[in-house]
Every structure is written in C-alpha cells, then in structure tokens.
C-alpha cells in the first residue's frame, strides 16, 4: 500500500490560516491503514484546528468527511454537491488523492495534510517499510522475492556491493543489505544457481525516467 506520514499540525495551521471554511477530507484506503489520513486522523486534525482557531478568537467552519477513496471519480463526486460551502480542502489522502481532487475541482484550493512516503508494508505495529518503487518491470522472480530496486540503496542488479557488512548496508547499520537478504532467500529456496546468472541491463524506460506513466486497458474500457 501507499505509506504516508502526517504533516506537523503547525505546518497545516500555517497553510489554512487564510481560509474561513475548510473541509478536512480523509481517505479510507492506504492512509487509513498506515494511520495517517483515515477517519480517525480527520477527527483529530479537525478538532485540533478548531481549537487552534477558537483560541485565537477566529470563527471558522471546519467540517469532516472521509471518502472511500480519493483516487476514483465516483467517490470524489460525493463532495460535489457541498463543495461550494468551503474555501479550501485539506486532503489527508496520498499525493494521488490530493492531485485527483485538485483536477476535479479546478477552483478549489487543495492542501495536503500528509507527506506521501513510499509503497510499503506494515512490518510491525507502528512500523512501515518500503518494498516497491513501481519501476514498471518486476524482477522479483529472479531475486528470491526481494527487490534490489527498492531495498538496495544503489539499486545494484548484481550485488552485493563492497559496502555490505555483516548483512547490513553501508548507509546505515539499521538497513539490511538487500543482496544479503536475496542470497539468504535463494539459499533457503535451494536456488543459488539463479544467483550465478548475470542480470541483464535493466530497462529503466518503464521507471520514472520515461516520464509519467500510464496503464491503458482496452479490454476493461466501456
């Protein structure tokens, strides 16, 4: 899922100071799971903003709404009828949701309430770690199910590099060496022969290097 992190409240306060009618818009998908922008976080942010402005003696309307998704037309349409009631929207969705809402409501200022971090997994309670960089051409079949693109700091395709020490990466003792993990897993799978295959040069045109990407599926279009 997409992992996001709550923005500091003071940053959001600064951004919304000049608007009198605000809608705090949450998203029920990834940001709910990573506890950054779901219904609960919407309630907390709205309450904090209300108190902040109340303490400053400012009268503002701060409403709350959480959509099923903010990256889909049909759910974003749910706020169209009431959109004129607001001067700005604080979206707690990932960058995708914020942008999609902005595209849909051209004259409505959109303020992000979270920082979108990465595509990751919920490794432990309160711990989310990166697993994928959406490079567009998956090589996990060859690397024992561990991704060197997202988990190796150098994105090395035939690792490990010389910076790997005792299974850790040279950038930090807290970061596992992806290639150590790959070797360990290939050993466990009894597929160490795969490690001997020299990886071909990766086609990075499917990554961001090729510009914004899109997926078109004629078979599912109506």
């Amino acid at each position: 899922m997409i992992i996001a992190k709550k923005k500091p409240i003071e940053e959001i306060i600064g951004e919304v100071e000049n608007y009198d009618r605000l809608l705090i818009l949450g998203c029920n998908e990834c940001v709910t799971v990573c506890e950054a922008g779901g219904k609960k976080e919407v309630e907390i942010l709205a309450s904090a903003l209300r108190m902040n402005f109340m303490a400053k003696g400012k009268e503002k309307v701060i409403d709350e709404k959480t959509l099923e998704r903010q990256c889909d037309h049909e759910y974003l349409e749910e706020i169209r009828a009431n959109i004129d009631k607001y001067d700005a929207i604080v979206s707690l969705a990932c960058g995708v949701g914020v942008q999609f809402a902005a595209e849909k409501y051209q004259t409505m200022p959109l303020i992000p309430g979270v920082n979108t971090v990465c595509l990751g997994a919920n490794e432990d309670r309160g711990l989310w770690t990166e697993r994928c960089q959406a490079c567009g051409s998956c090589i996990l079949a060859r690397t024992g199910g561990i991704c060197p693109v997202s988990r190796c700091a150098k994105r090395v395709m035939n690792g490990p590099c010389g910076g790997s020490t005792k299974g850790k990466c040279e950038i930090s003792k807290d970061v596992d060496c992806a290639w150590q993990l790959i070797v360990d897993r290939l050993k466990a799978l009894n597929k160490m022969d795969d490690y001997e295959i020299v990886a071909p040069i990766k086609d990075w045109s499917t990554d961001r290097a090729g510009g914004p990407r899109k997926v078109t599926r004629e078979d599912v279009k109506i």
Partner: protein, 120 residues
Amino acid sequence: MRLKIPANFRIVRLPCTGKVDIIHILRAFEKGVDGAFVVGCMEGDCHYNEGNFRARKRVEQAKVILDKVGVGGERVKMFNLSSGEGPLFAQYAIEMDNKIKELGPSPIRLAKQKKAKTAA
C-alpha cells in the same frame, strides 16, 4: 473512606484506559474543559495486559497536539494507581485540581464565554 475530593470534575467511567483515544481527550477540550486526567491501573497490572500503556501513549500524543494548538499540554495528565488506593485517587484529584487552578481557564473556554457574551 469518605475522602474529600474536589467537586469540580466529572468521572467518565471506562472498561479500561485502553479505551481512551486521542480524540476523546481533544473533544473534551474542544467542549471547554480546563483539564483532564486519565487514571489507569498500575503499569504491569493491566487486566488486558497493555491497556494502560496504550492510554499513556495517547495521553502523550494529546499533550503534544494541545501544546501545538495553544491550549497547553500540561492540562492533561495520566496517573496510575490500583483500585484499592482510594486515598491516592483523592490525592491525584486534588493535585490536578490545584494545577489547573494555577493554570487558569482554558483558552477554549474563554473563547466560548466571549462568544456567548457577544451573542447575548
């Protein structure tokens, strides 16, 4: 025991302090309370193992938010005691009451009062 405790606070009973969420604390302040304290079981003695630890973390988070929005994080506090410690509960209640009186009314309450006055 018939212990004397301040009469200016209200007890909200919960099955476990683990039920307390940040929003519950924030809502109380939004409604205009001057202070709030959460009283949980002794650490390590939670019937649900970690309810009081969760509560402590949430109280800490609420503190940070209250500080940032200008209400004051010192208005909320977590205490731990066992159910047999009535006198300690009374002591904590008095301690909190004194602290809040020292701090004065919450800015939210003042703003609400001011608004009500202008409306009247």
